[in-house]
Symmetry: C2
Subunit: 319 residues, 2 copies
């Protein structure tokens, strides 16, 4: 059943003992949505908690970890935030497959796995939808809640830079700043600060980058020994593949990362002229038209040669 | 005389044959302000033009160049946008010193060199002030004007990332997107696209970066031969000094650039723990507390040693 903001708010108003789910590899949006919803529901007198997410990183832990449920909590109503499909549930959410009462999401691919579903693909961050729901619930927009919402919107829109940013995204951000958050400091931590391992990863991407087809194809390589030497974790490798495509003239950016077992993961990013999914399909992978990937069971040299061949074929076919 | 938005709008409404000035080394804000004001004034039937700025770069030229005055234009009313003081006039504006009718600015240091002065230091971008003035003038907010305003606000706030971003900045951005601009594409060009020369400059900054005092001081070096080899211009070197400070743990970031004559220009960027101006003062330079600079007549090795010594002194004094 599809519901609108008022319908979702009414459902939450009628419920209690609410458990909130976040997705695998939690990002700022799922953590921000869950954090804001939980704080808002508690503010209006509900018992509400956020299910443990074992993959939460240090950056977003403060949004959800303080709201993990006590041992004796028995959920009576389950809400998922920013989760496009049940396959993206963390292991801890296994018991709730097929049992979600309310889905709140912004992925167009979401087929509505909840009993009720509020899905708004026009929202840059799912946190924008949460903002509307909390407003409909009459929740006071405190700085604490505003910080969760702001982190959700800003991380999913690349700090209001990506094309998914709308007037509504900016209106929500304005409300967050009015609520008294320190946007400048939040952004400095989220967008302006590179950890030393992240810096080393970027240095290696820059150093290994090779250009082909007169600068239209860029290929960068991250070896496992360098990743381990730098002590880089998932946070440090996040979105590193986008660096290749940022260079003027590059239409196909390829980043090859050696996995701990010596096999290779490839990320492809393209500009509007090229189809990343089509390139990855040639080597058994897939994904979206601008961002796709593939896995190789062979070593780096072979994977790199195969990817370059696939990219060059696509490049010449598109010309 | 200090005026508010209504006062500035009334003055413009009463004027005609209006000439608009931009500042030296024009950035997105001065160009965006001038571009928006000129388009708005023409829309409501005024003769209005923008004074030639010989330093305009390819990136911002489209905002102002089409509005350069015809040869027979005789200005009767002069407006400056985003200019903090007359010293920042381009050479072409020399005849207008002491003759500015209306100053529109957002620099707190502006002492009001116009006959009338609208100065709003709370505005992240001066373009936010222009938005309010155009609204008061009853100008229809077309996509063309919105693009100028958006570029002004977004470039001066680091795409809504810096601490000068306010709820009003976001409200203005929301109005720009509602007017139909393609924010995602504008931002891709302004913030996500590195020219090949810029990429080479960043690669060199990353490669030459040395860390001292357990990572608290970072030093990067740009040699002239590398700058020339990459074909880097002013746009490509813009804000490159901030890269050092983005690395976690760095409190003092030093970037040394070799000038064409072999002398050295130094840029220092600091986090809140350290005083950049104090460091640069030790070697005869100066600036702001977080961003300062100095010039050396000696070569790179000597300049680097002197800067490192000054930074280490300051670092130990501050501990």
């Amino acid at each position: 059943m599809i519901v609108d903001v008022a319908g979702a708010a009414a459902a939450l108003q009628a419920a209690d003992d609410i458990l909130i789910l976040t997705h695998r590899r939690p990002d700022g949006d799922t953590a921000g949505c869950a954090g804001a919803l939980c704080r808002g529901l508690q503010q209006i007198g509900k018992r509400a908690y956020i299910l443990e997410n074992p993959e939460i990183t240090r950056r977003y832990a403060p949004l959800i970890v303080p709201y993990y449920p006590p041992e004796d909590f028995v959920p009576a109503y389950v809400v998922s935030t920013d989760i496009a499909e049940e396959k993206l549930f963390p292991d801890t959410a296994e018991p709730y497959k097929g049992k979600v009462d309310l889905v709140i999401d912004h992925h167009g691919s979401n087929d509505g796995f909840g009993k009720k579903n509020l899905i708004r693909p026009d929202a840059g961050g799912c946190a924008e939808v949460l903002y509307d729901v909390l407003t409909a619930l009459g929740v006071k927009f405190t700085a604490d809640i505003a910080e969760c919402i702001y982190i959700g919107v800003s991380t999913d829109t690349g700090c209001f830079k990506f094309s998914n940013t709308t007037a509504h995204s900016h209106a929500v951000a304005a409300a967050c700043l009015t609520a008294g958050i320190d946007g400048g400091e939040i952004n400095r931590v989220l967008f302006e600060t590179k950890s030393r391992p992240r810096f080393e990863m970027e240095r290696i991407v820059f150093d290994t980058m090779e250009f082909h087809e007169n600068g239209a194809i860029a290929v960068a390589v991250l070896w496992r020994r360098d990743i381990d030497h730098a002590g880089a974790d998932m946070d440090d490798l996040d979105s590193i593949a986008s660096l290749t495509r940022q260079i003027e003239g590059v239409q196909i950016g390829i980043t090859l990362t050696e996995k701990p077992d010596g096999t290779v993961r490839v990320s492809v990013r393209t500009t509007k002229e090229m189809d990343a999914a089509a390139i990855c399909k040639k080597v058994g992978g897939g994904g979206h038209v601008r961002a796709a990937g593939a896995s190789f069971t062979c070593g780096m040299a072979e994977a790199k040669a195969a990817m370059l061949k696939a990219a060059e074929e696509q490049f010449h076919a598109a010309k």
